[in-house]
Symmetry: C2
Subunit: 364 residues, 2 copies
């Protein structure tokens, strides 16, 4: 009998219905038909999801289902389908945790680089990494290249495109990426630094392939992508073909229905992200501190041979919060400040240098 | 000045903060930085989303944003990003409606067949269509083929795979699809009927291409796919390359954060689905009757040259409910009953015939 995937759901319903609701969920997330109508005992025993436990939780209850790994076909979108396909349409159901049987992770690519690979690439050791974003969309290529040059001059480790910079007419990928990459290389030559650029990949499979071709030709050494916008199986195929570290963006993650540590850290990591951006507490989003620390620890926790990945707190952060963020997240982290640097206007270079300094010498 | 995309959001926050929250959302969903730090007046005027209106709504409020079409790059995943990328991470924000400027729809493929094309293919006119599902996953290919044969013998118009039938070892796509297609053709020869098969497409872009190749070789004439699992841009690329009608499945639609009529009807239609499955009221899901009728009317409402598509109510339906469903949805509909037929056990053929009869002669 193969070991099961253990998926934990929180259900907003009264405890008196918990057994019936749990059994219904087990059917919904596996065979999607009345169990009594299943004639083959093998299907009942080996395919139907099992109710492993039901526990009260803050007025509602939590159900752990044992899902047969064979039903996922060892493929990412079908795994997501079995975990949260139909029940995503039931607003009272939330997916809060998943534990995989030992060895199940081998079916997925996982991070190619992880924390170690990103540190090797950026030559950053013994401190947290710094990251900023090129904004706003609508800017000309020249403006974005100038910004990138100044951020690199300040010594920021990773300069990513804003996730809203896709392939619009304002600054098409094929023009923006060479220009920004060259601007950063120019600044690196001045400083002797190793700032790298992570352009936004977006669109369908053939667009992603074309973007990978341009990025390789231009010497780009990292990429940004929102797996939930690209689509998970397309993301995985990109990961398999691409030789660059992947910074995952949470856009369209709708994470109040799938617990953020599960989606943004465990699943994105399993599927191949090397670093994962999430909205830090106290910014523009309402994630709690506990949720954010949960994302960070899930991104880095030991997991067979799956490399740990960088948590990247973001979303309205400021240079002033650097010491507090470092004390919360530690140095196996990349801090991302975008608008908070851009808001400095003509003081952008100075503000960016302050960001770099505060991360390099957290005690000063 | 180009016309804007009008996106309506419901925000669960007090009305006193509505103006500030609306302005913040406009920044979040366009430039994602402090507006005051934007130096280029063109970007402020033409790129930043605008607050068009703020209206109280049942204790909360609704905001209409005017989003610049140029920011979407006329590409599906970037459109979704601008509509609901970052703010999907804000649990208090729900996307309830979107209106596109005239002509914007021309940037997307839209349904290739629509209702008219599906009727031509199935030779069904003057009544609603019938649909059922092959289940459970875990069954052998032989079992599924036998089921399909009996459903076809009963004269059901469309037999789809369960959305949980992907490419698992139980019944791999490459074995299942030829076997089921042949079984249906055998039944069609007996009855003189036109039952068609819609196998589940799933996985990454290269898997989808391989499935399209097999489907074409076997003479399959419709497909089932969950756009949210496949990923929207990958779905669109499939639509562009595939010459078959597409039945969209709502799995992973998480539709309590995006209004179901918007996601399952308007957007899936824009992106190229020909028919869209949704959980009918009074079944295993909690959608209201109004939501379901909203999905149906959005699927069929006039929209430039975008073909109307078939609403497909499903999710725990029974033959007994056919008259009520027909009176609610009318005949431009496909009724999907899966488990409700399978539950008949050895009476499956008889129950399936009753389903077909009730749809053909709704007044009896």
């Amino acid at each position: 009998m193969e070991e099961r995937i253990l998926a934990t759901y929180r259900i907003a319903a009264s405890e008196s219905e918990s057994r019936a609701r749990a059994e219904a969920l087990a059917a919904e997330q596996s065979v999607e038909m009345p169990i009594s109508a299943i004639v083959d005992p093998r299907v009942r025993d080996e395919v139907v999801a099992r109710v492993v436990s039901i526990l009260p939780h803050a007025g509602d209850f939590e159900v752990v289902l044992g899902i047969a790994p064979a039903t996922t076909g060892n493929e990412a979108s079908q795994l997501v389908n079995m975990l949260f396909g139909n029940c995503s349409l039931q607003p009272e159901v939330e997916l809060v945790d998943v534990a995989f049987p030992v060895g199940y992770e081998k079916n997925f690519p996982g991070p190619r680089f992880g924390i170690e690979g990103i540190r090797a690439l950026t030559h950053v050791h013994g401190r947290a990494l710094t990251c900023t974003a090129l904004k706003p969309q609508g800017s000309t290529v020249e403006h974005l290249a100038r910004l990138a040059h100044d951020f690199a001059l300040a010594g920021i480790d990773v300069i990513k495109d804003d996730h809203g910079l896709a392939n619009q007419a304002f600054s098409p990928f094929s023009q923006r990426v060479p220009a920004v990459q060259k601007a950063i290389e120019r600044a690196n030559r001045k400083t002797g630094g190793n700032t790298i650029y992570a352009p936004t990949f977006s669109g369908g499979p053939s667009a992603l392939r074309e973007q990978a071709r341009i990025a390789a030709a231009e010497g780009v050494s990292m990429i940004l992508i929102a797996p939930m916008l690209a689509g998970i199986p397309s993301f995985i195929e990109l990961r398999s073909e691409l030789g660059l570290p992947i910074l995952a963006h949470p856009a369209f993650g709708g994470a109040n229905r799938i617990a953020p540590p599960l989606l943004l850290a465990r699943l994105f990591r399993l599927f191949g992200a090397d670093a994962t951006i999430f909205p830090n507490h106290g910014g523009r989003f309402s994630y709690s501190r506990a949720t954010c620390l949960g994302i960070a620890s899930t991104a880095r926790e030991p997991w067979a041979n799956v490399r740990p990945i960088l948590p990247v707190p973001a979303g309205g952060m400021t240079v002033e919060r650097v010491p507090e963020m470092l004390s919360g997240y530690g140095e196996e982290t990349m801090l991302l400040i975008g608008g908070g640097l851009l808001a400095a206007g003509v003081q952008l270079l100075e503000k960016s240098r302050e960001f770099v300094r505060k991360v390099a010498e957290p005690m000063t």
